[in-house]
């Protein structure tokens, strides 16, 4: 059952000429800040801000799976947990998974399962936990970006990097990386995640959509999303680089 109102609210103006409510261009990302390796206990971790979203990802594994009957003899079992802190949203959220979190966890896990080289770790588990400390629109995309960096930080072999961003339709215009107002009052929300390999977008790992768009608008959404993803990908790589350089400095 829906725990909260998923209805569209009354409208407000979102687009002013060629600018958005927060001054961004249609194809402009929000500010993004990424830091890898910020937790001690986890095998890999990442702190990420994407606009007002603040998320922390941790990766544990490959490690033993308990109880044994949950093991898979031919590959690693992947868990992904998207969780919102009670204070992450305007109205306090009751702790524990709701239906929305369960669905987001499922499609996010599936996106990562498609790129993690699970066959290298039979009987093992790889656990990806992402905490949303502050949520604005696009928290699932922020979490996937953080998870992807945390997986690299943990040394988990992957076919490439997963990079995620949403596109919205706001006042009839397709806009990249929507913030809360565009999500609430806009006409559509389309979260994407791509596999990027060899510096190129290769395929789609996550795709959802709700709202109302035409086929042409979808084409525009893909264009925007790929542009945004490439920019985020650069920042993910930089964050990983920075962690490795600082480690090399420390160790060497």
């Amino acid at each position: 059952m829906s725990e909260s109102n998923e209805e569209k609210k009354d409208e407000i103006q979102l687009i002013f000429g060629d600018k958005r409510l927060d001054g961004r261009r249609f194809d402009e990302l929000r500010n993004i800040k990424i830091e890898a390796g910020i937790l001690k206990r986890a095998d890999g971790s990442c702190y990420l801000e994407m606009g007002k979203n603040i998320v922390v990802a941790a990766v544990y594994g490959p490690r033993e799976v308990h109880p044994r009957h949950l093991q898979n003899p031919s590959k690693a079992v992947i868990r992904y947990r998207y969780n919102m802190a009670p204070f992450s949203v305007e109205e306090r959220k009751r702790p524990g998974p709701d239906r929305r979190s369960v669905e987001i966890s499922k499609v996010s896990r599936e996106a990562l399962e498609a790129v993690i080289m699970k066959e290298l770790f039979p009987r093992s588990g790889i656990d990806i936990f992402v905490e949303v400390l502050q949520a604005d629109a696009g928290s699932r995309t922020a979490c996937l970006n953080a998870a992807s960096v945390a997986l690299v930080d943990a040394g988990v072999p992957m076919k490439g990097m997963i990079t995620s961003v949403a596109v919205a339709k706001a006042d009839g215009v397709m806009v990249l990386d929507p913030m809360k107002e565009e999500d609430n009052y806009g006409e559509a929300d389309i979260p994407f995640a791509f596999l990027i390999r060899g510096g190129k977008i290769e395929s789609i790992a996550l795709l959802q959509m709700d709202g109302r768009v035409t086929k042409d608008e979808l084409r525009e959404a893909f264009k925007l999303a790929k542009k945004g993803a490439m920019e985020i990908y650069k920042l993910q790589k930089e964050a990983i680089m920075k962690k490795y350089i600082s480690e090399s400095v420390e160790n060497g």
Partner: protein, 259 residues
């Protein structure tokens, strides 16, 4: 053990047929199984429909209650969609609270109805800010021979089309038909490598839970999409599937208009 081997054999068979450009039941790649819709099968519900997609059977019942509106939409009715994958419907379903599959199913069906604005929620306000109609869409799987999702979407919109708002029972005026103004139709494809099959049967799904569902409305707008399952999808393939989904949805919508 025996079941694992059976699944493997089925998988090989499905894939080998596929290489020959065929489906195991002889259907074309873009062909649905036979659709049957029986409406108003549950007289105690406000509306109901039993949908058969080949051997897959789903029943949806609509119940309505009076409740408080959400603070930010004080003049609108509320839709609540719920799915029960009861163990009667499949040897792999277990009793218990909804798991991620039934939650995803309910939410994707819900999105199609919600985003197409199929139900005119503005006409379901009884007293602004105080009392609105709650519409419970309860999806009850009976026989899972593949593609429960499209069967559920169809049953949901069919049941809504048949729904009478029970105003008299709640003593708030005369009964009236639920105002339905759009016909969202979901089309689910099984994506296998660079091929895809609409309306996959259970045997076909032995190759993997790799689906793309696209829901469209009567103006060919896309109103909901869900990539489900761990696989990678190429952009050009996506647009191919989109075209097929739009055209199949149009066919099914014609059928739906005549129930």
């Amino acid at each position: 053990m025996v079941e694992d081997i059976l699944v493997d054999i089925k998988k090989d068979y499905v894939l080998s047929k596929l290489r020959e450009g065929e489906r195991i039941d002889g259907r074309k790649f873009d062909e649905f199984r036979k659709i049957e819709i029986q409406t108003n099968v549950i007289s105690k519900a406000e509306g109901s429909a039993l949908v058969k997609l080949g051997n897959t059977q789903v029943i949806v019942g609509i119940k309505m209650q009076i409740g408080e509106p959400f603070p930010d939409t004080p003049d609108k009715g509320i839709i609540i969609t719920n799915a029960e994958l009861v163990p009667l419907a499949s040897p792999t379903f277990e009793p218990g609270p909804p798991d991620e599959f039934s939650i995803e199913l309910a939410r994707v069906v819900d999105r199609g109805i919600r985003e197409s604005e199929a139900v005119d929620l503005n006409k379901l306000c009884i007293e602004e800010g105080e009392k609105v109609w709650l519409i419970f869409i309860d999806i009850h799987a009976l026989d899972d021979d593949g593609n429960l999702l499209d069967a559920s979407s169809l049953a949901a919109i069919s049941a809504l089309l048949m729904t009478t708002v029970p105003a008299e029972r709640f003593e708030v005026g005369d009964n009236y038909p639920l105002p339905v103004r759009n016909l969202p139709v979901s089309v689910t494809s099984l994506v296998i490598g660079d091929k895809f099959l609409v309306d996959p049967s259970k045997d076909e799904v032995s190759v993997g839970n790799t689906f793309l569902t696209i829901t469209t409305d009567q103006d060919d707008n896309i109103v909901a999409m869900q990539k489900s399952g761990s696989y990678l999808l190429k952009e050009d393939k996506f647009f191919e599937i989109l075209d097929v989904s739009l055209s199949k949805a149009r066919e099914i919508r014609e059928y739906l208009k005549n129930i």
